[in-house]
């Protein structure tokens, strides 16, 4: 399993304070998620692309990340134009492709690509412990932060355990199929995985107690806001305002039309 991201780079983006990056990502992705106007959406995608470029990311790796997601997008393009009722744009035999459906699918595509690229550029460019610490300093509840960090640490251990169990099943001739035996076997493997995870949880806790754990984690990160962070943040605020202007001028136009 690989969740390394691009934290080893040394671009302008990499040098921006992680807390600023997390905050901007949060604001920008929520904003993008609620956009309706296409101009605003295209601008938001452009901004994300520019960030990816300035983070100097490996384009092949980025497109691989996007590829994993494209399957969902294709599904949306198949389902939405057919299922959303509205003006018929194109009729094929008994299938109606509606304008509204296509618009919605396009919106979702733009939004999701824009947000994924944004995360690639601003979040994947820091390692997990830095991300955890910046979440902590942005007052994200500690339980969520620790849950997040522990997940990062142990997901590969769980993956190994799962593979071991699967191997044990395979060497005894197990072959997955569409039958009750397969479901039962997967059920058992999942059950064992839970039991193992629980027991490991106990052992990890004991190991933590042995090292003096008393319910508090100490962060090792030293965050310092500098001038370049201000410049980056103000630039982003300007761009976000531009997106907002496009979005709301669109709505204003619509309202004027209606009136």
């Amino acid at each position: 399993m690989d969740f390394e991201g691009y934290h080893e780079g040394n671009s302008i983006i990499h040098r921006i304070d992680p807390r600023v990056r997390v905050l901007i990502t949060l604001i920008f992705s929520f904003l993008t998620a609620i956009l309706i106007n296409f101009n605003a959406l295209f601008l938001s995608l452009t901004i994300s692309l520019l960030l990816v470029i300035s983070a100097n990311l490996n384009i092949i790796k980025v497109s691989k990340n996007l590829k994993a997601f494209t399957g969902f997008i294709i599904l949306i393009w198949i389902i939405l134009p057919l299922s959303i009722k509205g003006e018929t744009l194109y009729k094929l035999w008994f299938l109606n492709f509606s304008t509204e459906g296509i618009e919605l699918a396009l919106r979702i595509t733009l939004k999701s690509f824009s947000i994924i690229l944004l995360f690639n550029a601003l979040i994947s460019t820091m390692n997990f412990s830095v991300l955890g610490s910046s979440m902590e300093s942005l007052k994200v509840p500690l339980k969520i932060v620790y849950l997040f960090l522990m997940t990062f640490r142990y997901i590969s251990v769980l993956d190994e355990e799962y593979k071991r169990l699967m191997q044990a099943a395979k060497i005894r001739g197990f072959k997955a199929g569409v039958n009750l035996h397969t479901y039962k076997t997967y059920g058992n493997i999942l059950g064992m995985l839970f039991v193992n995870a629980h027991e490991r949880g106990n052992r990890v806790y004991k190991a933590m107690v042995c090292r003096g754990f008393n319910g508090k984690f100490y962060s090792l990160q030293n965050f310092k806001i500098s001038f370049k962070d201000f410049i980056f943040a103000s630039m982003m605020v300007l761009l976000i305002s531009a997106v907002l202007t496009l979005e709301y001028s669109g709505i204003l136009l619509k309202i004027q039309k209606v009136i």
Partner: protein, 256 residues
């Protein structure tokens, strides 16, 4: 000589289990003493360590550590600062994303400042010759590397004694040699549980075993002073302490 750990008449059985895992067990560790413990799986050796650290409560018996009676959790908090336990599975011990964070975790809990903790962590890694691991991601380390980092997390707390639970499992020869070297350099009172008789013989001065829930000392188990003679190693001296040629295994139990 100062006694570090003194267990008396310890009894333990798993909940729902009729039979006692540990029964009427006595064990003493004094300063400058290095005890190796060779015992079969399921003989309760991990439980024994957990009892010393206060992670598992024995059904009965008394625990005295650094001359103090251990009664409740509060007493053990102090013990955990002074005795380091290396867990059998390194994945249990390393739970932080990166190596340096994990090694600094103990010192931070001991109330050290961030800078001090980082310095202690770096020094400990250098002591083990693995300072280059510092910023590496824990789950990407190999088995041997994980073991050395776990040892670093234990040593960073500057323990006065150490307990090692199967430290050689999954180690290649090179890492094992390194571990032997490090343990010699450390020279801390220790109890080392291992399947690896050759290793135990190299790093400890006494070999005990657990049999039927009791610790048997070397006098009880009648050992050949050199465990496992190796034909390729002709320089080894064989000191026969008895006429019976025996291995360093406890007798009459399943294979180690």
């Amino acid at each position: 000589m100062k006694t570090i750990i003194d267990l008396q008449r310890i009894e333990y059985r798993y909940p729902g289990n009729e039979e006692y895992t540990l029964k009427d067990l006595d064990l003493k560790l004094t300063e400058n003493e290095k005890i190796g413990m060779i015992a079969s799986n399921g003989s309760g050796k991990t439980t024994l360590f957990h009892i010393i650290m206060g992670l598992t409560k024995p059904s009965s018996g008394t625990i005295e550590i650094f001359g103090k009676d251990m009664i409740d959790e509060k007493d053990f908090i102090d013990v955990r600062k002074k005795i380091g336990l290396l867990f059998q599975d390194a994945d249990d011990q390393l739970f932080c994303p990166t190596v340096i964070e994990d090694v600094a975790f103990g010192p931070l809990n001991q109330g050290k400042t961030k800078d001090d903790a980082l310095e202690i962590a770096s020094d400990t890694l250098s002591f083990l010759g693995i300072e280059s691991f510092k910023d590496r991601i824990n789950f990407k380390l190999s088995g041997g590397e994980k073991r050395l980092v776990s040892l670093a997390t234990v040593l960073a707390m500057k323990p006065e004694a150490i307990l090692l639970d199967e430290p050689t499992t999954g180690l290649d020869e090179k890492t094992k040699d390194k571990l032997i070297e490090v343990l010699a350099k450390l020279d801390l009172p220790s109890i080392i549980i291992s399947h690896d008789a050759e290793f135990v013989n190299k790093v400890t001065s006494k070999i005990y075993t657990i049999k039927e829930g009791k610790v048997l000392t070397d006098k009880d188990i009648y050992l050949h002073s050199h465990v496992h003679a190796h034909p390729h190693d002709s320089d080894h001296k064989h000191e026969h302490t008895g006429t019976v040629h025996s291995h360093g295994h406890p007798h009459g139990r399943d294979e180690i």
